[in-house]
Symmetry: C2
Subunit: 306 residues, 2 copies
């Protein structure tokens, strides 16, 4: 049985990409954790069921979407049969056999999947030539908006914008910006969440040369709600750090200001060197930094690998 799954602490791109790709590949969409409020909002909006929660790769054929990093996947991934990866991140893992691997430096995995669809390339990746229904087009559009922060993130490409337009037409969404702001508000609604919940909303582990690094992120329109909880979030990060981490970063991204406050736990020196900055009171503000993938992971990885 073929399962298609995104990463742990799933974001909208992971969930929506898994659902849409499953439709074309005749597989079952899966998730590795709880949906965040934004994704819940989107699935409700388009009337789509949440994917099945899976905890083991055993006996499963697997296609990974939206990650290529073992530390972000099922713990027993090697017990399953990995047949493909469809992604838009850096290549963060090796495999023991040749697989289908399609990755492009685009704004979201949903963009990669949309491009495959509009180019009639589903058969190329072993999928079926079917029509993209309005509800699934809505999911892909939502994932593009979410990952590119409504086209504001520096990861945004022309392809993301163009395919979003095409998807919006199919999904019958007249005003992408208006719909996008609704999404960002759903993403920003952290007021009632505990510090632990806020951290795990979008948290990813990395293995850089044997070092264990965690990077969480929350993207908000109005930082005041998160600001008010900053001390508690830091405490929770310190607690998490005890799980054998070398460094934990937590990005509080201000979508309007287009920059991120970074809370740093652990190897401050590494962070300061990698980003040529100084940490004061366990935090620093990085002007223009909105993307973990494009602006935070590469300098850190370079620092640790060299």
């Amino acid at each position: 049985m073929l399962y298609i799954t995104g990463h742990t602490n799933p974001d909208t791109d992971s969930i929506c990409s898994a659902i849409v790709l499953s439709y074309f590949m005749d597989g079952a969409p899966a998730r590795l954790g709880k949906l965040n409020p934004e994704t819940e909002f989107i699935l409700k909006r388009f009337g789509i069921m949440e994917p099945e929660l899976i905890k083991s790769a055993k006996g499963k054929e697997l296609i990974l979407v939206d990650h290529a990093e073992k530390s972000q996947s099922l713990e027993d991934l090697d017990e399953g049969k990995l047949i493909g990866i469809i992604d838009h991140h850096k290549v963060g893992m090796t495999t023991s056999e040749p697989i289908l691997f399609i990755s492009k430096p685009l704004g979201s995995t949903a963009t990669v999947i949309s491009e495959l669809y509009f180019n009639n390339m589903m058969p190329y990746i072993g999928g079926k030539n079917k029509e993209l229904k309005p509800d699934l087009a809505g999911l892909l559009l939502s994932a593009i908006i979410s990952d590119t922060v409504l086209f504001k993130s520096p990861t945004t490409t022309e392809t993301d914008k163009q395919l979003a337009e095409k998807l919006a037409k199919i999904a019958n969404i007249d005003d992408i910006n208006k719909y996008g702001m609704e999404l960002l508000k759903a993403k920003s609604s952290v007021g009632k969440m505990s510090p632990e919940e806020i951290i795990s909303l979008d948290y990813k582990n990395f293995d850089f040369n044997g070092k264990k690094i965690g990077i969480g992120q929350v993207e908000v329109i109005d930082v005041s709600e998160v600001e008010a909880k900053k001390q508690h979030i830091y405490k929770a990060l310190e607690e998490k750090f005890k799980e054998n981490y070398d460094l934990i970063l937590f990005l509080i991204t201000d979508i309007m200001k287009e920059g991120s406050e970074v809370l740093v736990v652990g190897d401050n020196k590494a962070f300061e060197k990698a980003f040529n900055t100084t940490v004061e009171n366990n935090s620093t503000f990085l002007e223009g930094v909105m993307s973990r993938k494009k602006q935070v992971v590469p300098p850190l990885e370079k620092y640790y690998i060299k």
Copy 2:
């Protein structure tokens, strides 16, 4: 400037894939070492110049073909800008940034490139919509034949056979089998070579969990020429082993018998466990084993990683 290069100790698939992809991507084909006699025969046959030898990645944009393994690439790969990988091997490396990655479990990289061409997907990977000329079709066909050992290797897929037919028509080659036997003979002509030359014909390094493994292979129609030099080849392997290896394997593949004698230097225990066999007089015969990629690398990698 964009360079497209295959792996060190280049084989026909690496060289031909680099040349053909360069044509579509407006890049320069490059090689990381001396051509083998088979590849020389092919380039002469179709009147194509050998690619430029490069020794450094510095200042270059790079697309890797036919490998996804740092230990098989330029030593200073990280000094260049890696923009893509087009391959058919296991994923053997990580990157620090998102790149274009197209890999499928097909018989050769030339098959992957042919499929992109026949599906009009060159623009999808950033290439141009041009016509494949007969000489370049001949190179792709030759690389498919070489990598699949004239469709005898267990790595061979239906796609390899189908696209070979299409390429043969464009290249004006009426009898694929007859042409294939010519190629295999050119590949087999090791009579005048030194043991060192025979070893380096098709030799690849791997890094399995920090262990340094070398795996060489020679594929011959008639094993008697290599058999006669076996003791000298083993001596040369022992010499090579001093370069800090943990294990070196050398496959003498009998194309007719469809199996390989394996010469083993170093960690015999690892080899015996991974392949459930016993080594006598530094060697063993593996029935049905013709593909390093599909039949030798995966069990070894599993042994070392776990």
